[in-house]
């Protein structure tokens, strides 16, 4: 390999440095970034919150304890049940939407991580394709 120096800069070290980072800490860093994005998305859709409170009354509407006649208590029970049903529907919808977004992000992240490994090979691949002479129709 040919080495040359420009003010202490060494092209060999450059190549070794960038490639060792790319397949080492660089890939790990990419994994961390994808993980952070997934955490933010999970938080944005409040997925865990929604799962743990799936059947809780929506916005505490008719959720308090009711003192009174048996009729009042029955009415309160139905009100509360309705509130829980509304909560369940709204939360389930949000969980479904959130899950889709998360899934899409996971797939995209996985593709990125795999693609990352092939990026340094792209100049060589480009040269091979140029030599082969193929062009899209």
């Amino acid at each position: 390999m040919v080495y040359y120096n420009v003010s202490g800069y060494n092209s060999g070290m450059f190549l070794v440095g960038i490639l060792s980072w790319w397949y080492g800490n660089g890939w790990v860093e990419r994994l961390r970034i994808i993980n952070d994005r997934l955490r933010v998305t999970t938080d944005r859709f409040s997925v865990f919150q929604l799962i743990t409170t799936l059947f809780a009354p929506y916005r505490q509407i008719a959720a308090g304890r009711v003192e009174g006649s048996i009729e009042d208590k029955i009415r309160a029970f139905w009100d509360r049940s309705f509130s829980r049903l509304v909560g369940f529907v709204v939360r389930s919808a949000m969980i479904v939407i959130g899950s889709f977004v998360l899934l899409a992000q996971i797939i995209f992240g996985a593709v990125t991580l795999v693609f990352w490994l092939f990026i340094p090979l792209m100049p060589t691949m480009g040269l091979i394709l140029m030599v082969l002479g193929w062009t899209p129709a």
């Binding site: 060494n10 450059f14 980072w21 944005r44 939360r91 949000m94 100049p123 060589t124 140029m130």
Partner: protein
């Protein structure tokens, strides 16, 4: 001590050099190149040329370089187990060093990178200052590395930044103390500067971390809170708006942990934060709100995403002014908070809710059962005084409250708070604070601001100082200026020419009003000069003097003259006639609270700390009153009834007394000079129980005023006539009295026991009355000079004496 080598060819050194080469503009250029190559490659491919593949393939090289720079090179971490200096040097310095660096080269580099800029702006350590430290005959770089390494370990830094190298360059200089003193700094300040720089970097790094605040459905399980939103202040929203920057507290972390502990346990869900205003109670609330919102992993689940609402008694009462309205509104609000299930209520200045006087409502009866039941999470904030009052009035309430005391911050804690808060104030006011400004804000607020505790008072002063910046830079001088303008005091060393001249010619200026009494004039002038030259004891008043002597010799006049000449007018004199303090209970009036008695000594000095305090006829005050004043004379501190320290350290305290006046006259008549009998006279005062020795010992100087001679009274007459002419100047009339007449006035009014006091009366009778008649009769017109002769004076005074003689028997 091990040798710290510098390896120019290490991996880290190579990477650092690449990092330095790829700066922001190169990085942008590389991104542009990537896009251009991609677009060109695709266009060429579409055109049917396979060369486009090569362009697309090679476009990843600049893209990879950007990724590498952002991911590793730009903020290159120190080696895991550093052994050589290049393992820990920050990349911006390491990448610029030559293979055999000199001290001068290092000085040049540190002056051109961020850490160096930080010290230049914040501490005033310029590039030139650093270069001046370098002695080319001594190029001991190894010593520098050793010093820097030590600082790196001492400050727990992530790497050896430019700020550490600047500190190391300075500390290895033999005369560093002297050099730094010009900047009002020492080595500890530089270490603090390194820590401050590290802390700011840490805040920037934290700011880049993703914030997890609960998301869209966070509050779906909790109730609506329309009333709370209308009448309360949502601290969680505020914390959210500031992106969780309140999460960490520079002080009171323990109090915050205690709150979380109480609220996550099964006990009574209430907390009373008790501490003086300015101590940081609101800051604790904001930190709590922020921490609950950005749910730490170690936070109990029953507290995660709970919201903190602050309720203000005054605005609630204003919103419900009608009779009984507040009693209806408050339970509704609290019921709403309870039903919502995610609300923590904070009653700021909670004493207002328990005071029975406000709007004739007694909210305590509503709150007490809620606090006792402990179902709704409540935080009360109040100061110690109010907590004690509430405890006394309602011991049951105090018994069910979990009290957390919030003490004022220490100096180190306050400095950390200031370093953090200064960033926000800088952003709001478009200024930059120097470190010296922060130190000065602490020092001066500690001394002069009494209505707030630390760190609140230092922050408040710093905010004020932002308005006195010079070219956007806030130095210690700006802080001094802010407090001088706010409190109307003088604290720095006299710097303006006219003030210096006043100080240097103080005796002459005072003698324009006071005749003779040279020694008294000199001691007060000296005290003031010491104060304004910064060489006095800062923990005492500017000066404490006891003036002894017969009446009418100029004791009070000297105090007035001093207030006029230097303090800005006679109204700068706080005068207390001590014959109004003859009872033992009168001591209380001296130190009464300003809100109840604005004329108490403590209240007046609080309002006007830079003044002359005149305690007239001190011998007439009760012993208990004198005892109260002892600490004021000794340490310049007097505590008012509310136990607040009031500083007299910027005042000159003058006490006057006629005690033993006859003895002074007697000694003088017998031909003694004052200095000859001074000690004997003071002993006599102690022996005759007129003053206690411990009281007299508190004064810097006890000055005896001698009776005025007839010649000196002639000068008093002249001074009175100057005053008369000043008054007449408005009417363009002046008066002059012949020598014979002046002598006659002195002869007539001379009484060694009364000194100059009768002179004003005599002048009034003989001169002012004559002038008044001439002005009214039209004899004296504008521009005329009225001359009063001996005959006229004799005639007037003799006529008056006859009239008094005739009137005498009739009475």
């Amino acid at each position: 001590m091990r040798t710290l080598n510098f390896n120019y060819n290490s991996d880290r050194s190579h990477k650092a050099r690449i990092s330095v080469k790829i700066n922001r503009s190169i990085s942008t250029g590389l991104a542009g190149t990537t896009i251009a190559m991609l677009i060109a490659g695709m266009a060429i491919l579409i055109g049917g040329w396979p060369f486009g593949w090569a362009l697309i393939g090679f476009s990843v090289i600049p893209a990879m370089t950007i990724e590498w720079w952002n991911g590793e090179l730009h903020h290159m971490a120190a080696a895991a187990e550093p052994k050589t200096i290049d393992d820990v040097l920050s990349a911006d310095i390491l990448g610029r060093l030559s293979s055999n660096p000199t001290l001068r080269e290092i000085a040049t580099i540190v002056g051109s990178v961020t850490g160096g800029h930080f010290l230049a702006v914040r501490f005033g350590i310029s590039n030139r200052f650093i270069h001046d430290l370098i002695d080319d005959s001594n190029n001991d770089v190894q010593a520098l590395w050793q010093e820097a390494w030590q600082l790196y370990e001492q400050t727990g830094s992530q790497n050896i930044s430019a700020s550490i190298l600047v500190a190391a360059l300075i500390s290895r200089h033999p005369n560093h103390q002297r050099l730094l003193s010009h900047l009002q700094l020492d080595l500890d300040d530089l270490t603090n500067g390194v820590k401050w720089y590290n802390h700011l970097r840490q805040l920037i790094d934290e700011h880049k971390q993703p914030r997890l605040g609960g998301g869209l459905a966070r509050d779906w399980s909790f109730g609506w809170t329309p009333l709370l939103k209308r009448f309360g202040q949502n601290l969680s929203e505020q914390a959210n708006g500031l992106n969780g920057s309140f999460k960490h507290l520079a002080t009171h972390e323990e109090a915050l942990d205690q709150i979380i502990d109480i609220f996550s346990s099964g006990g009574r869900q209430n907390v009373a934060l008790v501490g003086p205003d300015g101590v940081g109670k609101t800051q604790i609330m904001l930190a709590l709100a922020s921490r609950l919102l950005y749910g730490d992993t170690n936070l109990p689940t029953n507290l995660r995403y709970r919201q903190v609402f602050s309720l203000d008694a005054a605005s609630l009462i204003a919103a419900a002014p009608g009779r009984g309205e507040i009693e209806r509104l408050l339970p509704q609000i609290l019921d709403e908070a309870y039903s919502a299930k995610n609300i923590i209520i904070c009653l700021d200045n909670a004493q207002l809710f328990f005071e029975q006087t406000i709007g004739s409502v007694d909210i305590a009866n509503i709150l007490l059962p809620i606090i006792e039941s402990g179902n709704l999470r409540l935080i009360l904030t109040m100061d110690d005084q109010h907590y004690l009052q509430i405890s006394k009035r309602d011991p049951k309430l105090a018994g069910v409250i979990n009290r957390i005391s919030v003490a004022p911050a220490s100096e180190a804690e306050t400095m950390t708070v200031l370093e953090e808060r200064s960033i926000k104030i800088e952003f709001q006011n478009r200024v930059t604070f120097m470190y010296q400004a922060l130190v000065e804000a602490y020092r001066l607020s500690d001394r002069y601001v009494h209505d707030l505790a630390m760190p609140g008072k230092a922050i408040s002063l710093l905010e004020n100082a932002a308005h006195y910046s010079k070219d956007g830079l806030v130095s210690a001088e700006s802080v001094r200026l802010a407090i001088e303008k706010t409190l109307d005091i003088k604290i720095g060393v006299a710097s303006q020419e006219d003030e210096r001249q006043t100080l240097l010619n103080m005796e002459d200026l005072i003698h324009e009003r006071v005749v003779n009494q040279v020694r008294a004039v000199q001691v007060v002038s000296d005290a003031l000069r010491r104060a304004r030259a910064g060489v006095r004891n800062q923990l005492r008043p500017i000066g404490t003097f006891l003036f002894l002597g017969p009446t009418g010799v100029g004791k009070t006049e000297l105090a007035k003259a001093l207030a006029d000449v230097y303090f800005g007018g006679e109204d700068r004199m706080i005068r207390l006639d001590m014959n109004e303090y003859t009872g033992a209970d009168d001591a209380g009036r001296l130190i009464a609270d300003g809100s109840e008695n604005g004329n108490s000594l403590t209240a007046r000095v609080m309002k006007q700390p830079f003044s002359v305090v005149l305690l007239d006829e001190i011998e007439k005050a009760h012993t208990k009153v004198l005892d109260t004043l002892l600490q004021m004379l000794d340490e310049g501190i007097l505590r008012d009834v509310k136990s607040r320290e009031v500083s007299f350290r910027d005042a000159i305290i003058i006490a006057t007394s006629n005690a033993g006046a006859e003895r002074i006259c007697e000694y003088v008549e017998r031909g003694y000079d004052i200095v000859q009998f001074e000690t004997r006279f003071i002993d006599e005062l102690i022996r005759t129980n007129q003053f206690k020795p411990e009281f007299l010992n508190r004064f810097d100087e006890i000055v005896m005023f001698k009776p005025l001679t007839p010649d000196e009274l002639l000068r008093v007459i002249d001074l009175i006539l100057v005053g008369v002419n000043k008054t007449l100047a408005l009417q363009k009339v002046s008066v002059q009295v012949t020598d014979g007449a002046r002598k006659y006035l002195v002869d007539t009014g001379y009484d060694p026991r009364l000194g100059a006091r009768p002179m004003r009366r005599i002048v009034q009778r003989a001169v002012e009355n004559t002038v008044a008649k001439q002005v009214l009769s039209g004899q004296a017109e504008a521009g005329s000079v009225i001359t009063i002769t001996l005959d006229q004076v004799q005639q007037i005074l003799e006529l008056q004496a006859n009239a008094e003689h005739l009137a005498g028997p009739m009475i």
